[in-house]
Homo-oligomer: 339 residues x 2
Amino acid sequence: MVTIKDIAKEAKVSVTTVSRALNGYSDVNEETRKRIMEVAKRLNYSPNTLARSLVMKKSKTIGLLVSNLTREGTKDNFTYEVLCGINDAVSRFEYDLIFFSTTSSKQSEKTYTQLCRERRVEGVIIMGIKTNDPYLQEVVESDIPCVLIDIPIVSKTVGNVTTDNLLGAKEAVKHLLKLNHRTIGMINGHNEAFVSQERLKGYKEALAEFGISYNEDLVENGQFTEEDAYKAAVRLLSKHPEMTALFCASDIMALGVIQAAKDLGKNLPVDLSIVGYDDIILSSYVTPSLTTIRQNKYLLGEEAAKLLIDMLDGKTKPYSKVLDTELVIRNSTTACLDQ
Amino acid sequence: MVTIKDIAKEAKVSVTTVSRALNGYSDVNEETRKRIMEVAKRLNYSPNTLARSLVMKKSKTIGLLVSNLTREGTKDNFTYEVLCGINDAVSRFEYDLIFFSTTSSKQSEKTYTQLCRERRVEGVIIMGIKTNDPYLQEVVESDIPCVLIDIPIVSKTVGNVTTDNLLGAKEAVKHLLKLNHRTIGMINGHNEAFVSQERLKGYKEALAEFGISYNEDLVENGQFTEEDAYKAAVRLLSKHPEMTALFCASDIMALGVIQAAKDLGKNLPVDLSIVGYDDIILSSYVTPSLTTIRQNKYLLGEEAAKLLIDMLDGKTKPYSKVLDTELVIRNSTTACLDQ
DNA sequence: GTGAAAGCGCTAACAC
DNA sequence: GTGTTAGCGCTTTCAC
C-alpha cells in the first residue's frame, strides 16, 4: 500500500510537504504541489484515514445505534425510512456511518461509552431504544455528542428529534370526537416508550376538551405489535360493547385491531372507527384503508443527522427539535350514529 | 482519554506487558495480569481500535455499499430485510459495519478502491448495484474481498449470493401454465439487472416446456417501479386483449399491474391472473392478494455476510451461493376458462 | 515473565 | 516554501 512516504521519495520532497500539498494548504509552491499531485495519482495513492484519525483525534464517523433492526421492523418501515434520512444527510457532510451491531447480550459486556470510544466516533445517533434501556443513563452522563430519536432528553451533549406526539394523538382523537364518537378506547404501545406516554396525554387532553372524563378501563397496551394489539382489542371490545371508536398508537397495532374487529363480526367502519399512528405504507392498502397520523420518518432521520453534525461543528448547542405531524383521513373512520 | 501508557504507569509495568495482558497472551504472570486488568477497569480504559488497526492492518470492519438506500425502497422492504440479515451475521462475528454513503455524483470523484482503502475495510458487501455501474468493473479487478448480492460474478476475491431467479420465474410461469393459461405476458425490470435477465430466461423455459413459442411482443420492461409497470401493463393489455395472465418480475410492479387491470375494467383474477416476485409485505394485503415467488431476503443478507467473513478468515475461496425460492399461491391467480 | 525500541501512516509544531 | 522531528496509541520483534 502506497503511503505519503513513497510519494515523498518519488517527488523528492519531505512527507510534510506531501501532507500539506495533499490537504490543500496554501503555503506550498504551486509547482511542487502539481508534481506531488501527479505522483500521488500515478502511484494510485489513497490516504489512510485510520492514521489521520489517530493523530487528528477526529474520525469523521458517526455511530448509529439501532436497537430494533430486526425482521419485526419490516412491516413497519419506520427504521428503514429514518435510516435513509440519516444516510442522506450524513453523506452530504462527508461523514461516514458506522453501524453498531448491538444485541442485548452484548450490551452487558460492553458499555455504551466503550463502544463509542473504541471506534472513536465523533457522535452518535440512537433510535429504537426503550426508556429503561441501561444504555440511556450512560448516554446522558457520557460526554459523547449524541442525538436521540423520539426520546425528549436534552443535556450538555445530548439533543433529540421527535415528532409532536401529544399534538398528533390529540388531533387523532379530536377527529373521532368531531365525528360524534363519545366512547373512544385506546390501544397504546408500552410504558417504556416516551411516545406512548405522550400519545396517552394527547388522548386525555382531547377528551377533556370535549368534556369527557378519562376512563382508564378503555385503555390497554398492545406492545406495538399486531398480535398483542389484536388480543387487547378483543378484550376491550368484548368488555365495552358500547365503544364506537379506537385510537391506536401505531398503524401496526391498528392492523391487529382491524383484524380483531372483523373477527368479532364488526362491520368497519360503521360499527367501529379506527385511527392509527405513523402512516406506514400498509395503511393505504388495508381494508378499510386506515385513517392515521402521518409522521415524516425520513425527515426525522435527516434532522437528527443535521442536528448532530451542527453540534459537532460547534454551530449549535444540543436542543430538542419537534416535527409536525399530519392527520390523514381515509376510510376507517366515519360519523357515529348512536344515541 | 486513558491509554495503555497510563495503565502501565499505574500498574508499574511496561506498555508491552499491558498490551499482552489485555490481549490475553499466555506469557504473562497471573498476578501482573490481574493487577493490570484491575487498573484498566478502574481507569475506565477503552482500547483505541484506530491505533490497533493501524499497526495490525486489520480494521475489523466491513464496508456496505448500497446503491439504492432511498425512499423508493420503502414499499419494497427488500433492502431493509437484507440489511437485517447482514447486521445480525456481522455482529455475531465481532465485525462492525460501515455504511458507505455513495451518491452517483460522489462516485465520479472517488473510485471504489479509494473508498475502501481510505477506511481500510477488510471486505465489502454490495447490493442494489446495476450491471452497468462503473464500480462493478473495479470490484472485479480490485483485490479487496467482496460479496455481491444478486450479481453472479465470481473471481479470485469476489463471491456472491443470490436466489435462483431462473427457477423462481420458471415456477411462477409454470403455475400459470398449469392453470391453463396460454397467452402469458411478462413485465420485466430493466436490462441492467442480472435478475431480470434470469427471470426472462425462466419465463422462456417454462413456455418452451409447454410447447409455447416465445413472443417478445408480450414482454415489456417496467423498471421495477409501480408507475412504469402500470404504463407497461396498460400498453400490453390494450394491444393484447387475448392475454389472460401476466408474470411480473417484482411485487411492486405487480401492484402497478393490478391497478392498471382494475382501471381497464378487468375483473381480477377472473379476467387476468397475476404473479409477482419477491413476496413483500404488501402482497398479502392488496386485493386480490398476490400470488408470488418468495425470496428469503434476510437469509440473502445473512449468507452474504457469512460468506464474506469466511473468505476473510481464509476458510473458503469465493464462490457463488444460490438460495431457493418458493411459490406462494394467493388470490391473484385462477384457472383460465377460455377456449 | 518482562521491557526497550521500532514502527504502522499520518499531522503539526518549530526551525531554517 | 520546505524539512526535521516528535508523537498519536497500539503491537511486536528481540533481548534479557
